[in-house]
Each structure stands twice: as structure tokens, then as C-alpha cells.
């Protein structure tokens, strides 16, 4: 446990040394939510319909990028190889990253929901606390997917290309553009196995009908399941012995 906490502290220290990244992490969701509010200035019900799911997707986007680049750096600078020759266990390393980025996600989600639900008047029936819970789950999913992506990239150029390759198709199919039920059966089936669909479903439940808690928790559990799966697969790619 102490090695996990030491790893989190180290990751947070690295983040603190990079104030521009922190400013972008925290600031971009606010600016984009503000922009969305202006776009839908005359259609406030649609602002609620699009804005709420989008609020829950920022942590996925940012944590995917931050994690994929951070782990790729560990792989390419030799620090991962060094860590794997020390008593640090793989799960302690990933747990350390999870705690640090989870904390970053809590701060990001708190700030973004405070602005969106407060100043911008976004209606989320389930309230801000559940939004933050969902955002943390989604952040862990983004972390897991980023970890996995880092295994298939040799450079930072390559790893950022996994964002349009793996995240954008999910964005198109998650129900944000066209409700999933109205898609053709093949696309609907594909969207069924994409984790982002459940994040958006969960936020839909949360924003419209706070009484539909069982559906909300079900979707949340699926998001967390996908996150676990991605982290597990990603952990398997942290190979101690390489050629």
C-alpha cells in the first residue's frame, strides 16, 4: 500500500510540474460547456440532452490521453523497466496511477459540474454528487483504455492517433448523435459492446429521471466492468521480460 501511495504522490508531483497540462485538464471542459450553452441558447432542452452526456465524457477523453502518454513515457524512458526490477508490483504501479488520476478526475468533474449545473443552468435531475461518481468511473475507463493503447504504440505520435481510432467511433455510436435504439441493428449491436455507450446511458438516466436508480447503477457497473477489463488487459501488457 505504501508503494501505491508513493507512486500516486510521484504521479501528482509530475502533474504539478506541468501547470499547463493541469490548466488544460481543468479549463477545457469549462470552456466547451460554455460554448455548448451558447450554441443551444435557444434550445435549452437540447442543451440538457447533449450537455449532460458530454459532461460525463470529458474525463474519458482527458484520462485516455494523459494515461496513454504517461505510461508510454514510462515504457520508452526505461523507468518502467527499472520499476519492474524493484519490489514494486504491477498492481501497485497501476493502483498508484489510478489514485492519482482518479483524484484529478474528481477535481475536474467537480469543477465542470459546478460550472455546468450552476452558472450554465444545466439540468441534471440526479444531482451533482452522482455526476461526480459517474465521472470518476468514466475516468477509470479512460485510464484503462489509455493504458491498453500505450502497449500498441512505440512513440507519442502513435499513441495519440489511438484517440481518433478508438474513442471517436464510440463517440459516434454512443447515442449522442442518434439514439442507439434508432440505429440499424448492426450498428446498435456494435454500440452494445462499446463502453462509452453505457457511460452515456448512465448519464441519460441521471439527467432525466433520478428515480431510475437501478438502471443507473447497472450502467455504472458495466462502465466499471469495462474499466477493470481494460486495466487488466493493460496490466498484462506491462511485461517484465522483453526481447
Amino acid at each position: 500500500m505504501s508503494r501505491t501511495l508513493a507512486t500516486s504522490a510521484r504521479v501528482l508531483r509530475q502533474l504539478r510540474r506541468d501547470p499547463r497540462t493541469v490548466a488544460l485538464l481543468l479549463g477545457v471542459p469549462l470552456v466547451l460547456m460554455g460554448l455548448l450553452r451558447l450554441i443551444y441558447d435557444r434550445h435549452l432542452t437540447e442543451f440538457d440532452a447533449v450537455g449532460a452526456p458530454l459532461l460525463s465524457l470529458f474525463p474519458l477523453f482527458t484520462m485516455f490521453l494523459v494515461t496513454s502518454v504517461a505510461i508510454l513515457r514510462e515504457r520508452t524512458t526505461g523507468t518502467l523497466e527499472r520499476l519492474l526490477t524493484t519490489p514494486l508490483r504491477k498492481l501497485e504501479l497501476l493502483g498508484g496511477y489510478g489514485l492519482a488520476f482518479g483524484l484529478a478526475a474528481i477535481i475536474q468533474a467537480t469543477l465542470a459540474s459546478a460550472v455546468a449545473l450552476g452558472a450554465l443552468g444545466l439540468h441534471v435531475a440526479g444531482g451533482a454528487a452522482l455526476v461526480i461518481v459517474l465521472c470518476v468511473a468514466v475516468a477509470l475507463l479512460g485510464m484503462g483504455l489509455g493504458l491498453l493503447a500505450s502497449a500498441f504504440a512505440a512513440t507519442e505520435f502513435q499513441v495519440v492517433q489511438f484517440f481518433p481510432a478508438t474513442i471517436l467511433p464510440q463517440l459516434l455510436l454512443c447515442g449522442l448523435l442518434v439514439p442507439r435504439a434508432q440505429m440499424n441493428p448492426a450498428l446498435h449491436a456494435i454500440s452494445d459492446v462499446m463502453p462509452m455507450s453505457y457511460a452515456v446511458d448512465a448519464m441519460r438516466h441521471l439527467s432525466r429521471d433520478p428515480s431510475a436508480t437501478s438502471a443507473l447503477w447497472g450502467d455504472l457497473a458495466i462502465v466499471l466492468g469495462f474499466a477493470m477489463l481494460a486495466v487488466g488487459l493493460g496490466a498484462a501488457t506491462l511485461r517484465r521480460r522483453t526481447a
Partner: protein, 253 residues
């Protein structure tokens, strides 16, 4: 970890018998056998590409496809219990460039389970005390190498495996580091230190000379000079290669 009173102390830090490593169908280590006792400073010399790094990676358990018998401190190389007893420094400094020297050491100390007080001692031994607050990115190559080395010393390892730790350092610093290695060996640590600078060989208790994945000699620096008939270690190495012919026989250990 599993030490009980019944476990006998193994005097050998490394015991290698017919160690082979293949990569992409090629055999990059072609049957190495040697022993390194505790408390000895062993130099691993040879031209770049001869397999020095592969041997070191096999010793610390990060190399795939190792065959033969490779024991480190009496246990199979790479076994989890060895991770707190063996420290490895890669050729490229593997530390966090965006953290300060002290922050790097604090993290690696926490991982190794070392006392925080060790940080000051280790900083002092690699002459980095004055730079402790500096971010690693802003340091010179030689300074970064020393941060990487310092990180490995924190856990007071029984075996130190150092891949070209003196590359890019000025002569004064090189001498200081070799004298540090000597002190560590005197204190009981076994060290395997690679270099492609033959001149550094004279600081070692023993030398392993490698070429093309084979050991071509295991000698003391004095023995090497005597065997090859020259004091110039560069020349001695060249003569050994020449006398070993195209496919040098396995050196006896």
C-alpha cells in the same frame, strides 16, 4: 524475505552456466559460464553490440528467452525475492525528467523500502548534494547518469548491475565513481559494471571480456596484461581477439 536460520549464505553473487539468449532467431548470448563472488568488482568489457546489456538484463530478470543456469545470490535470476537484493542501472538514465533529483530519490527510496535518511548519504556519494533541488531535465547527461545510479544505491543492494555508468563523465568524476564502486565492493557488495572503455578495466578486481555473445577471457587486469604481453588494455583486448581467431573458444571460468 524467506530467510530462515537454516538457509545457508551463498558466497556467490552470480553463477552462470551455459547461459544463452536468443532474439529474433539469432543467438545473442552463445553459452556464457562464469562466477562472481560477493564483495568483488567485476568489469564486463567488450565492443558495443557484443551482448553486455543482454547479459545484464538476463541477470535482473527482464530478458526473455534465457536458457542455461543463471543463479543470482543463490536464486534463479529474476525471481521476485531478488528484486530488493539486486539493483540495476540501465545505460540510458531511467529517472523521471520532470521531477527534481530529490523527488526522484524519494520515490525510488519508497519503492525500495529504504530509509529516507539514505537519500542524503547516496546523494553525497555521487556528488549530487548541491543539485538535489534541481529538476532532472535541466541537468547534463553525466549528472542524469548519476541520479540514475544514486537511485539504485538507495536500497543497499547485495548485487549492483551497472550498464556503462561512466559514459559521458569527465575523468575526475569517472575516477570518483570507480573509487565509489571499489568502496562498495570492499563493504561486501558484488558489482558487475560494463564499459567499452578498456582503460577503466584497471579499476576492477576481475574482468570478463566479451565478443559476439561469447566470453573470450576472464582475467584480473594484471593477468590480462601478462597474458597479452602489453600494459595497454586496448591493445591487450585486440591481441586476445586476434589469438582467439574467428570463433573464440569458451573461456574457462
Amino acid at each position: 524475505m524467506l530467510e530462515s536460520p537454516g538457509v545457508q549464505i551463498v558466497p556467490l553473487a552470480i553463477s552462470a552456466h551455459d547461459v544463452r539468449v536468443s532474439r529474433g532467431g539469432n543467438e545473442v548470448l552463445r553459452g556464457l559460464s562464469f562466477e562472481l563472488p560477493r564483495g568483488r568488482l567485476m568489469g564486463l568489457l567488450g565492443p558495443s553490440g557484443c551482448g553486455k546489456t543482454t547479459l545484464m538484463r538476463a541477470l535482473v530478470g527482464v530478458q526473455r528467452r534465457v536458457s542455461g543456469e543463471l543463479l543470482v545470490l543463490g536464486e534463479a535470476a529474476g525471481s521476485p525475492a531478488l528484486r530488493r537484493r539486486v539493483a540495476y542501472v540501465t545505460q540510458a538514465p531511467s529517472v523521471y525528467g520532470d521531477l527534481s533529483v530529490r523527488e526522484n530519490l524519494a520515490y525510488f527510496a519508497a519503492i525500495a523500502g529504504a530509509e529516507p535518511a539514505r537519500i542524503a548519504t547516496v546523494l553525497d556519494s555521487v556528488e549530487l548534494t548541491a543539485l538535489a533541488g534541481r529538476v532532472v531535465h535541466g541537468l547534463s547527461g553525466g549528472q542524469r547518469t548519476r541520479v540514475s545510479l544514486a537511485s539504485a544505491l538507495l536500497g543497499d543492494p547485495e548485487l549492483l548491475v551497472l550498464d556503462e555508468p561512466t559514459v559521458g563523465l569527465d575523468p575526475l568524476l569517472r575516477r570518483q565513481l570507480w573509487s565509489l564502486f571499489g568502496r562498495l565492493a570492499t563493504a561486501g557488495t558484488a558489482l558487475l559494471v560494463s564499459s567499452h572503455v578498456m582503460d577503466e578495466a584497471r579499476h576492477c578486481d576481475e574482468l570478463l571480456l566479451m565478443r559476439d555473445g561469447l566470453l573470450i577471457a576472464r582475467e584480473t587486469p594484471a593477468g590480462l596484461a601478462q597474458r597479452s604481453g602489453t600494459e595497454d588494455l586496448d591493445e591487450a583486448f585486440l591481441r586476445l581477439i586476434a589469438s582467439a581467431g574467428q570463433d573464440p573458444p569458451q573461456a574457462s571460468a
